[in-house]
């Protein structure tokens, strides 16, 4: 009797890892060449990138892992949605909704909630993300509005909503800066060690990944989500699955994870709400999820890689005078390479579909 069930197949994990490493190497090489062509000191820039991400304990814990945390949460959100066949491009807006509601809880309700403030902020932050995604889910089922469009639009609405909050009801008491007052201590995620920027949200993110993996793998609901995403017709006809309901659930859960990302970022890192609380985590999340092959466990690795790249980019700008945006080029390259490499990965039909891969040879003659 086979016993490798319920665990990822060793070969597929190895192939995935090899592809990821190969692709990352190729992208860094491309970065090096691009920097050389631009007449910059490429070697020094890459050294700074290394220093700023994994070169020291400080860089690792206070920069890279902190950056990776929201990328893992939102990466999981996007991976879950894509696995269900839902093109949720709105993790950014859902993140902002989560952060905004967590700010409301932390700033207004802390006196009443006491020690329950932080858990409430996180829970309601997740709920806000689900609600924000729920708008797109409802538009999709009720009016057939493509979620690709609606979620992007909702990102802007969320952004301007936060802009209103931090200039209106949530603005700090002096009414000078467009941001909220700092959160009280009871609304803050504690640091993992005193004086460290790294907070317990990182641990939560890393633990969420296997939980989501298990849900997709071992529960009936996860199975329905995967079936609906891979072949909605067969899910309906052979599985008698209510695919509309199933994808809706996945959409809401995806929104909740993105909302949690916002709540964690607010309560663990920024401690105040402002418009630029996310430098586009919800968009980078799409790249993270794709690089991970839509596998929740892979999202942790991809999130760490992108967290490292972004942390290193800041160091690169500081120490080697290379604009941090070149890292965006690397990230984009990574995703393109991964999609191009999708055909060599097992269980990557979804990725191939995203990449617009060649259809199967026609059946029959």
């Amino acid at each position: 009797m086979q016993t490798d069930l319920g665990r990822p197949r060793a070969t597929s994990v190895l192939v995935s890892a090899a592809v990821t490493v190969g692709v990352s190497g190729a992208a860094l090489l491309a970065l090096w060449v691009a920097l050389r062509l631009a007449g910059l000191d490429a070697t020094r820039a890459l050294a700074a990138l290394w220093e700023g991400s994994v070169g020291s304990t400080y860089a690792l814990t206070s920069s890279m892992l902190v950056r990776a945390t929201p990328l893992i949460f939102t990466g999981l959100a996007v991976a879950l949605a894509f696995r269900a066949g839902v093109w949720n491009i709105g993790a950014e807006g859902q993140l902002l909704a989560g952060a905004a509601v967590a700010a409301v809880v932390g700033l207004w309700w802390e006196p009443g909630l006491g020690v329950a403030t932080l858990p409430t902020a996180l829970l309601l932050g997740a709920a806000a993300g689900a609600l924000w995604a729920g708008i797109a889910a409802w538009l999709r089922t009720r009016f057939g509005v493509l979620e690709v469009i609606s979620t992007i639009m909702l990102n802007f609405i969320a952004l301007y909503g936060v802009g209103y909050l931090v200039r209106g009801p949530l603005q700090e008491p002096t009414h000078v800066y467009p941001q909220s007052a700092p959160l009280p201590d009871l609304a803050r995620l504690p640091a993992i060690a005193p004086g460290m920027r790294l907070h317990w949200g990182f641990v939560l993110a890393v633990l969420t990944a296997p939980a989501l993996w298990w849900m997709l793998r071992a529960t009936a609901m996860g199975f329905r989500i995967r079936a609906a995403g891979q072949n909605a017709d067969a899910a309906r006809v052979a599985g008698q699955i209510d695919t509309a309901r199933t994808t809706q659930h996945a959409f809401l859960l995806s929104g909740a994870l993105a909302g949690l990302a916002g709540a964690v970022e607010l309560t663990g890192v920024t401690f105040a709400l402002y418009e630029n609380i996310s430098p586009g985590y919800g968009y980078t999340a799409i790249a993270v999820a794709l690089l991970a092959g839509l596998d929740p466990l892979g999202v942790v690795l991809a999130g760490l890689l992108f967290g490292g790249l972004e942390a290193g980019a800041l160091a690169m700008q500081r120490d080697a005078a290379v604009p941090a945006v070149v890292v965006s080029v690397v990230e984009a390259l990574l995703v393109l390479l991964v999609l191009a490499a999708a055909r060599w990965r097992s269980a990557s039909a979804l990725l191939t579909r995203i990449a617009g891969g060649a259809p199967r040879a026609e059946e029959g003659t």
Partner: protein, 477 residues
């Protein structure tokens, strides 16, 4: 010296990835004749004709039109040389009129009255009635096929290729179509009919070429060849005998449908008034020309589609084998055991116990003789026949009270077909009610204990008699 063949394909080879669709296929169509290209599903017939029509390039081999070697880079190139094709799945624009569809693809100005006159002229010459002003999508399927033929001829086809032309027609309409094609050939044209039906090849054609697994096995005149010889050429030495049927032992009524109505996905009313009674221990055959509403009726009986009107009683445990297994029955990127778990997934709660599912997969795979992959491999790795056996294993493995089966052997070879038929009879003998639809009337007739025929959305019970069924499929009494 005799005239060169109108169309000749010599030693054509073509592969798709790792699949060799054509290995060494040759076909020579004499001018003024009807030629049948005969073969099992999957033998390479359509691939060969797509090459002749410029839709696919051959990997090796020569194409000659009227004796001259040609390189066909597109259907337009083939049409320019007088080769036209009517596909099994039609290619007109449903929202346009017949005349507009025929004019489509032409050049220069579109003149409405010229287009109509052209259509009428072509239709009259070939003896096919079409209404140039009718919206193509509103036409019954037989008229749509006439449109497709007229379309090809209006573009100057002198050699006309038809892919399974009678699959969508009731038998009497098929006779009519054959007469029109015969007339076209007698006026100097040539016709190639792709078919997997031996009887049709013998009745309709002057010459016949048999393909098997991508090779030309036989070619000759239908006047001198016997049905036995053709059958052997088609299927090799494997001889198919329909499963021996003992008289059925009908049990309780398990499916009862009264005055059902239903619309298709686009909202068109497909089933108007269907009443069905199915008992355990019998196979209820369903016949009907394509689009008569059987697709929706079967889905209602299987509990997959809610009737918009009428009363329906079906058992809790019911299996369904849809005709398009790649779209509706299997998730090809799932493993075999995951595909097995699909049954009942809509109602499952909590955790799925995968080890038990795998064990059960081993079990039913052995029972239904599914070969070629382990339960851990993807369903895409299985051959078509084994995929279908897996679907059957899933739907029949837990001895359901009833099973609804739609075109269960489409695209399968003889051995797989025989296995599927045996399983259906076994399910009947075990007491299940089996409702079987096949577009191949012979298949239904060889298995059914009772028959109903669907015509324009209504059902009628008909005796097990080929002619009576054929008439009922056309709505005649």
């Amino acid at each position: 010296m005799s005239e060169p063949p109108a169309l000749s394909l010599e030693h054509i080879a073509r592969r798709f990835g790792s699949v060799e669709a054509l290995v060494d296929a040759s076909l020579s169509v004499r001018a003024g004749t009807v030629h049948a290209l005969l073969g099992e599903n999957g033998a390479g017939k359509t691939t060969l004709m797509r090459i002749a029509f410029g839709m696919l390039r051959p990997d090796a081999g020569v194409i000659r039109i009227a004796g001259e070697p040609v390189s066909l880079t597109s259907p337009a190139a083939a049409l320019a040389r007088g080769v036209g094709m009517v596909h099994q799945h039609f290619t007109f624009v449903p929202a346009m009129t017949v005349a507009e569809n025929v004019a489509l693809g032409g050049h220069g100005r579109y003149g409405r009255s010229e287009a109509r006159a052209h259509v009428e002229d072509v239709a009259r010459r070939v003896g096919l009635a079409v209404d140039p002003d009718a919206r193509a999508g509103d036409l019954p399927v037989g008229a749509q096929q006439r449109l497709e033929i007229v379309k090809a001829l209006a573009r100057g086809a002198r050699t006309l290729i038809l892919d399974e032309p009678t699959a969508v027609l009731a038998p009497p309409e098929g006779h009519e179509r054959r007469a029109a094609l015969r007339g076209f050939a007698e006026r100097g044209g040539s016709v190639v009919i792709i078919t997997h039906k031996l009887r049709e090849a013998l009745a309709a054609a002057d010459d016949v070429t048999v393909l098997r697994r991508g090779r030309t096995i036989f070619t000759g005149s239908t006047a001198t060849v016997g049905a036995d010889e053709l059958a052997r050429a088609m299927i090799g030495d494997a001889v198919y005998e329909p499963p021996r049927r003992t008289p059925s032992v009908p049990r309780d009524v398990v499916i009862e449908a009264v005055h059902l109505a239903a619309a298709d996905a686009r909202g068109a009313l497909r089933v108007r008034d269907a009443s069905v009674t199915a008992r355990g221990g019998e196979i209820l055959g369903v016949a009907g020309v394509e689009g008569a509403g059987q697709h929706e009726l079967l889905r209602m009986l299987a509990g997959r589609l809610k009737p918009s009107r009428g009363k329906l009683r079906i058992p809790e445990r019911i299996g369904f084998v849809p005709e398009d297994r790649h779209r509706d029955a299997l998730v090809l990127d799932f493993t075999l055991y995951e595909n097995l778990a699909l049954r009942g997934a809509g109602r499952a709660r909590g955790r799925i116990r995968w080890p038990a599912v795998v064990e059960r997969t081993h079990q039913v795979m052995a029972q239904f003789d599914v070969r070629g992959a382990s339960p851990n491999e993807q369903a895409a790795a299985l051959s078509g026949g084994n995929q279908q056996k897996l679907v059957l294993a899933r739907e029949l493995g837990d001895l359901p009270t009833a099973v609804i089966v739609e075109n269960p052997t489409r695209g399968l070879d003889i051995a797989a077909t025989a296995a599927i038929h045996r399983q259906l009879v076994a399910a009947r003998d075990a007491g299940a009610a089996v409702v079987l639809y096949s577009s191949d009337l012979d298949e239904v007739l060889s298995l059914a204990d009772r028959m109903i025929v669907m015509y324009q959305g209504s059902t009628r019970e008909v005796a097990l008699n080929r002619d009576a069924i054929g008439r009922a499929m056309l709505g005649a009494s």
